[in-house]
Symmetry: C2
Subunit: 620 residues, 2 copies
């Protein structure tokens, strides 16, 4: 596990500062906030649809929705710097796609719009201040990701399901609707813009940024499920191989290719190899259209060209080359999408299968090479990425055909199962190699006899309700923990039964809150100074999400002897569990409520331990 | 609130009996259970697709997924008895549909298959015993409901989303896949059966039970959003009117029409009026096809017939009559679906709008009366039912057109917003009139200053870890509570600070567990008898879900003085909150974890109050 990742805090801290705000603002505030939510989603959707592209980003968005703070993931700087990269790699003809970046850009835009300020440009517009909380931001980011998928593939429902598959445990109905609304509006905007761009203003002909052409009538016979199933297995195997090679490559890269100049050289080598291979082999093949088009166009050709457009050897060679190139390119240090290259590989071998069937069953109406190319594309994507529900729907929406959903879904599921037998999906592999503490969906099986007392961390660093500044500073310096239980009184050690108690639990306070208090010198001794200027929740919000570090807080020696009253600021009702709680219950709490800290107490509500995400990810 | 409804218990009780089982069964058991889960979903899907119909049931399924035990909702007897009813009412020409019942039947079948026993036929097949828990059953019921929607409309994705919109807070990825799998298989089975039935065995031409015909090319121009929006508003208004009338009617019925014979008479009157109206008015109209077909066919005609198939007056009269008939019929005491009648009403006025536009903009390519009929149908359904995401997708899948999703979605959202301004959706209205304690999605706004101490119920009835049988019996007789905190020792009343304490919390035990213990006489005094036969979790499962009542437990006077050791049986880590916890946090816990009892403790972990679903529904 890498120490670079911190958790997000999806839990609201209902302290008295927060309550004060709610009490004074009243119902109008609630309405305003709700209207603003829809507005943000609308803005995000519209902005996402304006084709911006930036860094693959799907794994990062996945981590973010899971509750891990990935440094800089939702910063505008990230977006811009990667946009250039993607444009260059697509132009340069590398085996990359531009759809992953779109999803990321949706997330970035959502985060930007909802916070009403940018860190990159150091500007605070001051609006939407009430959305400066992790869980509000997370909701917008999931809407943004959905809008991104919707715009990239013209698949609004698929977009919603994508967000859902990644962040499902924090779902509710109001949010679903906003996400759906965003996805729809983003498709709509993109459609409008593209139609105008292509000379049909006011018409709505261009559904997604990527267009694989529509399949109008895809019928299939029941026994065709046999080739479909086999293709699913094939997709799973190829996907597992792809992931395995990529895993080894990534491990190699992490060890040997670390310096920027090394990365640039590798990228140049890939570009060179790509160019040589494509021109060299491409030239030898007469009908070599697939070698020279954009990958997106090639997919379209493989799906829709009439049979006997290609010779089987062309496609075969193309598949082998492209498979390895795509595998090499992903994770190269350049921003790159994965969907299109994978779809293209799959379409190639799918079409080969179609041709084979043509050979064995000539003159049969149902033999349609394009159909098998589609199934192959689905199988391959399923084998590499391993999402099922959202992928099915994305593909369905992408090719504009609903009746073919069942075969696609079955192929995707089989591919997933077969692939899962060997390794994990490509995104998960990359996430794990980076040491991100990502939470699984469930506790591992048979973990009911693992108790909170084994999971928890001891000793616990706690604070008292009224604490000396010097002590707080020492504690903050001495460790990197981000949350501290606030306790009543450290009991004498005579009634230690099983676990040492650290005092009766009163609440929990975050490091970020403490630094704000120190920075603004909210001390009891100078209460008359700050009590006039009304210390409220605003103080904590303006510095979100990058609070002060301890170095930015300058305290003179006499401050050190002041005291701070934490009572108005800590969260007085943190979630806690007793020592005999089983692991799956803790997992459930974390997933369902998006927790950052869970306090373990003994039977008298005395703090005995601390559980965070990092303690839980050890169990898988 | 009605007292007839009890909560379900989605929380696993990880007591030592349960742990024993897990420990002895090991990993093979986990795998077996998982395989069985997929099997159950498959069986459910296949069985659901075989067109069985039973009672509207959507509100009931909704309640069940929300966590309310609706008496007899998932019993086979219910299914059979209502199947007859629906067949008769459809045959009789009443303004009812058969799709709601299908959804219900999916749920019933799922419950039946997963439990491996039927209460109606008093037979216990003994398999799938490990699924006899509320939360396992709930998962299967949501899969069943999805399979039902999928089969009824040929809309697998819509089915998944339907389940999601109703039970979303208990969602996870593994479950999503099973639900999707079930929905797909059920569409597939139905397709297979229908195709064979219609003379094309092995082909897959019939997607859903209901078939509204496919719209191949539905294009729209951007300014058409203006009529669409207006139609959304119209749908919202009409829907609100429909719901209002139905509400008044239902209230009237609840007061005056209670006896079975009265209900039968009302049904007969409706049938008579329907017949007279249809024949009377139908005969006067030359092109009166819509009067005489099945509602489903009429919808299809309105969607697809060429323009000038109908005179506007035919449709106008038809709409008015059908609107009131449908409104009268729903909730009549006969099992009845709502979708088709509502769609039909909507299609009628939608087509009228289309004709009007035709009049103003003659000879325009985009004026397509069928398209406006579709929009009207969507708007009406949205206004009455108020589901958005799943309805959009169901309609999209139903008419086989993806590009038209955006307008449909916007119309549905507008209809929902406008309708919500006046009253709630029809299902919610019926649920509330029956006094079902259904939990809202969120706590009401501005409720952060309502604390657990105000929500909770006092005094709390508690038990000690080792308790006298006589005392237990008295407690069970004296109240109807279903859960009892187990406490350590009743403290002396001297340290009462704010709230009276009822002892230190140790765990929670359910009434059902207590009755099983009493029934089987698991007393300390005859330990040698039952310790040989190994008291295990099995004992509690065989009587699930209908445990013994106190009358079925016969105890002789000397039993009364025995003692029961509750420690191996109670749940040692119940969820608890402190008195100063804000209402939204409690709401979150209940929704996200599917709780039945939440114990309120003071700062020393002493029980001071009890919160159940019924305490929470007061706040809305
Ligand atoms: N106040 C504390 N006292 C003792 N141990 C703690 C405390 N806070 C966290 N820990 C433990 O420290 C280890 C690392 O914690 P972790 O970094 O996840 O917590 P954090 O810094 O509070 O939150 P974040 O996930 O944002 O970094 C974990 O084992 C956790 O249980
Ligand atoms: N053991 C108990 N002691 C005191 N009050 C209780 C207890 N159990 C429930 N209550 C209260 O009784 C009221 C009705 O409870 P309710 O019927 O919801 O609980 P239940 O019977 O335990 O569960 P169910 O929802 O299954 O009926 C609520 O106000 C609840 O807080
Ligand atoms: Mg940390
Ligand atoms: Mg009760």
């Amino acid at each position: 596990l890498s120490a670079a990742y911190e958790s997000l805090d999806y839990d609201t801290c209902v302290n008295s500062a927060w309550l004060d705000e709610e009490r004074t603002m009243g119902y109008k505030y609630v309405v305003k906030k709700d209207v603003a939510r829809w507005l943000v989603v609308l803005l995000t959707a519209v902005l996402t649809a304006l084709p911006v592209a930036a860094g693959s980003g799907i794994p990062q968005v996945k981590c973010y929705l899971n509750g891990v703070k990935v440094p800089r993931v939702v910063r505008i700087k990230t977006l811009v710097s990667k946009a250039l990269g993607v444009i260059m790699s697509v132009l340069g003809g590398l085996a990359v796609g531009k759809e992953g970046p779109m999803i990321h850009s949706g997330a970035v835009i959502a985060a930007g719009v909802s916070q009403g300020k940018t860190t990159s440009f150091k500007h605070d517009f001051g609006f939407f201040e009430y959305f400066r909380e992790d869980h509000e931001k997370r909701d917008f980011v999931s809407a943004g990701a959905a809008a991104g998928v919707a715009a990239a593939f013209g698949a609004p429902v698929g977009g919603v399901l994508f967000s859902l598959e990644e962040g499902a445990s924090f779902w509710n109905q109001g949010l679903t609707w906003r996400v759906f609304f965003g996805a729809m509006m983003s498709t709509f905007t993109l459609n409008l813009v593209l139609s105008a761009y292509n000379g049909f203003p006011g018409k709505l002909n261009y559904n997604g940024l990527l267009n694989f052409g529509k399949f109008d009538d895809l019928t299939y016979e029941i026994w065709e499920f046999i080739p479909f199933l086999l293709m699913g297995v094939m997709g799973g195997l190829l996907g597992a191989l792809y992931n395995h090679i990529n895993l080894k490559l990534t491990a190699f890269r992490m060890r040997y290719i670390q310096k920027p100049w090394q990365k640039i050289i590798e990228a140049a080598v890939v570009a060179f190899v790509t160019a040589v291979m494509f021109c060299g082999i491409g030239e030898e093949n007469a009908a070599a259209a697939i070698w020279f088009q954009t990958p997106e166009r090639s997919v379209r050709s493989l799906f829709h060209d009439t049979s006997d457009s290609y010779h089987w050897s062309t496609i075969g060679v193309f598949f082998v080359c492209y498979f390895f190139l795509a595998c090499w390119t992903y994770g190269l240090g350049i921003p790159a999408g994965l969907f299109i290259p994978t779809l293209l590989c799959g379409a190639a071998w799918g079409r080969l299968v179609g041709m084979l069937l043509c050979l064995f069953f000539p003159d049969q109406k149902w033999v349609d090479e394009g159909k098998y190319a589609l199934v192959g594309a689905g199988a391959m994507l399923g084998g590499v990425v391993r999402m099922t529900l959202s992928l099915t729907v994305i593909l369905m929406e992408c090719v504009g055909n609903i009746t073919f959903g069942l075969p696609l879904m079955i192929v995707l599921m089989v591919a997933k199962w077969v692939g899962d037998f060997f390794n994990e999906g490509i995104y998960d592999i990359h996430i794990q190699m980076q040491g991100v503490p990502i939470m699984a969906w469930d506790a591992p099986p048979l973990s009911n006899n693992i108790y909170a007392s084994e999971v928890m961390n001891r000793p616990v660093v706690t604070l008292k309700s009224v604490e000396r500044v010097g002590h707080i500073v020492n504690i903050l310096k001495a460790n990197t923990y981000n949350g501290f239980p606030v306790v009543d009184s450290i009991p004498t050690s005579e009634n230690v039964c099983y676990f040492k108690s650290f005092g009766t639990l009163r609440g929990v306070i975050l490091r970020s809150q403490l630094t704000v208090l120190l920075k603004h010198k909210i001390f009891n001794e100078n209460a008359e100074v700050w009590q006039n200027s009304k210390v409220d929740i605003h103080l904590f919000r303006i510095s979100y999400p990058r609070y002060f570090t301890l170095d930015e807080v300058d305290l003179n020696p006499e401050d050190m002897n002041c005291t701070v009253d934490l009572r108005p600021f800590y969260n007085p009702s943190p979630y806690s569990v007793v020592t005999c709680t089983a692991l799956p219950r803790i997992f459930n709490l974390f997933r369902a409520l998006g927790l950052r800290h869970l306090i373990v107490v003994n039977d008298n509500n005395e703090v005995v331990g601390m559980v965070t995400r990092k303690d839980l990810v050890k169990y898988r």
